[in-house]
């Protein structure tokens, strides 16, 4: 406990260093154990889209399939879909009610066909009007009622190769590992000088090595737990790294004296 305390006391006595340490460790854990979630997060781009459309209502005896086929061929029309009977009734009733006239719904003949015409997002209003005119010509001016053009904004999540970092994913754990090593490397002087003082004024030996080793134990426990929970074996990489790191720092131990 003394050595763990020494390690973390030295680490957290330098707030900037401690922040880097926390950042690198969290990054290491997330990129090692939550790969699926992180790639999903990184591979998705939020796109804001305008999708203009309008409704056209016409008598049901008009050949809507023909009109649909003709409309789809025009540039600027994304899609044309036939409206369901209930939807048309609802739309027509809504229009009639808005006129404030005393309509008796049951007496009105609602034998209509309806189309929803989706337009391209970047279509200018002049082109939109041309499409509407063409539709009027196809059905006959008297027989068609066109709704206003609506342009709702929608946020869609799109997978974009430009923004996706998935292909570079395997570099991230290495990057965070590098940051972790640098943090410990910077910390070694402070830990070394504190160890030197402890060894000089207390009956303890190899405080530097022990603090470095025991300081990693809680992290190791955390990684093993994460491994078990996630069913991945990232901990093996970390163990290899830890072994390598220990060797490096024990080799560098000569600089630990406060001189």
């Amino acid at each position: 406990m003394f050595y763990i305390g020494t390690f973390y006391r030295v680490l957290f006595s330098k707030p900037l260093l401690a922040s880097f340490w926390v950042l690198s460790l969290s990054g290491l854990i997330f990129t090692s154990f939550f790969q699926k979630d992180v790639t999903k997060l990184m591979g998705v781009k939020v796109v804001e889209k305008r999708n203009p459309y309008f409704y056209a209502v016409m008598p049901s005896d008009i050949n809507t399939s023909y009109i649909k086929r003709k409309l789809v061929d025009i540039p600027g029309v994304e899609a044309v879909s036939l409206m369901a009977k209930e939807q048309i009734t609802q739309q027509v009733k809504a229009v009639l009610e808005s006129t404030d006239l005393d309509w008796e719904g049951d007496l009105v003949d609602l034998n209509f066909a309806g189309l929803k015409i989706d337009l391209s997002p970047d279509l200018k209003s002049r082109s939109q009007n041309l499409i509407r005119s063409y539709l009027t010509r196809l059905t006959g001016e008297k027989d068609v009622t066109l709704g206003a053009i609506k342009e709702p904004l929608t946020n869609t999540l799109e997978s974009s190769k430009t923004y996706s970092l998935s292909s570079y994913y395997h570099y991230f754990p290495v990057l965070f590992l590098g940051l972790y090593v640098i943090t410990i490397f910077i910390m070694r002087n402070s830990l070394g000088s504190e160890s030197f003082i402890i060894e000089t004024y207390q009956r303890k030996t190899k405080v530097f090595e022990k603090s470095l080793f025991y300081g990693q134990l809680p992290i190791l426990a955390l990684l093993i737990t994460a491994s078990v929970l996630q069913g991945s074996w990232g901990v093996i990489y970390f163990l290899t790294f830890l072994g390598g790191l220990s060797l490096v720092f024990v080799r560098l131990n000569k600089v630990k004296q406060w001189n």
Partner: protein, 259 residues
């Protein structure tokens, strides 16, 4: 292993001046009477030994053929001008440098604990005096934390730094820093103290106080003290063994009264 506290020192600061004088002639070692000091000091077996030791820093001979022995319970003053080799000799005894030539024998650190007082003090500037002293708390030699705190409080009272323990070392004056470094060494309850000019920033009264404390430990607990100093006033009053160095050579080693 030494586990006694500072109880034996209580009389030292609580009694009046006359009583202190009386006690000092009995046990503290009257520095004006060589015989009383020789009687009180308990010279034991050999602790340190150097045989024709050479230490070089580049082309400079810091120590040139030094033969030197220190016995348990001795108080030794090392004198000499700057660059004479005093610090290197202390570093050699403390194991902080190794000889380029010759042989040095040091006591087993598991049996004989040596605490240095460094010339550059090696205190943490951004920490308080108290935190610096806490680094000397070793549960292996103190029964509990309370015992350590009592010793710390008692020493700080004797040295008159009680009210300044919460000061950060970087804000402390030179004298206070030296007292803290001195206290840290004492609180580690060593068998040997290697003090490298511990009173350089202190007036004679304070230097004398430090010397008296070490003298008490020497008499009561057989503490061995090796003290490098420029303080001529202190050296004049001292009548124990004196080592004089010049240009890395040991010029004189013997009782002060024979100089």
């Amino acid at each position: 292993m030494r586990t006694q506290g500072l109880d034996f020192m209580f009389d030292f600061q609580t009694t009046n001046r006359d009583r202190r004088k009386k006690k000092s002639s009995d046990s503290l070692g009257d520095t004006s009477s060589p015989l009383s000091q020789l009687k009180s000091s308990r010279i034991g077996g050999r602790l340190f030994s150097t045989e024709s030791v050479f230490v070089k820093y580049g082309n400079v001979n810091a120590l040139a053929g030094v033969d030197f022995k220190i016995h348990q319970g001795e108080i030794i003053f090392i004198t000499g001008v700057s660059g004479a080799g005093k610090t290197t000799l202390l570093k050699l005894l403390g194991g902080f440098v190794e000889p380029d030539q010759g042989r040095v024998i040091r006591p087993n650190p598991k049996k004989i604990f040596t605490a240095p007082i460094f010339q550059d003090l090696k205190l943490y500037g951004d920490q308080t005096c108290e935190k610096n002293l806490n680094l000397a708390y070793d549960p292996a030699i103190y029964k509990n934390r309370r015992e350590f705190d009592q010793d710390l409080l008692e020493l700080s009272r004797i040295l008159g730094v009680q009210s300044r323990l919460s000061l950060k070392v970087k804000d402390a004056n030179g004298g206070l820093k030296q007292k803290i470094a001195f206290m840290r060494a004492i609180l580690s309850r060593p068998d040997v103290i290697l003090a490298d000019e511990p009173t350089a920033a202190l007036d004679f009264e304070n230097a004398r106080k430090m010397y008296d404390i070490l003298n008490i430990y020497n008499v009561k607990q057989g503490l061995t003290v090796v003290w490098a100093t420029h303080n001529k006033e202190l050296v004049k009053k001292f009548t124990g063994r004196m080592v004089h160095m010049d240009k890395g050579r040991l010029i004189y080693s013997g009782h002060a009264c024979f100089i």
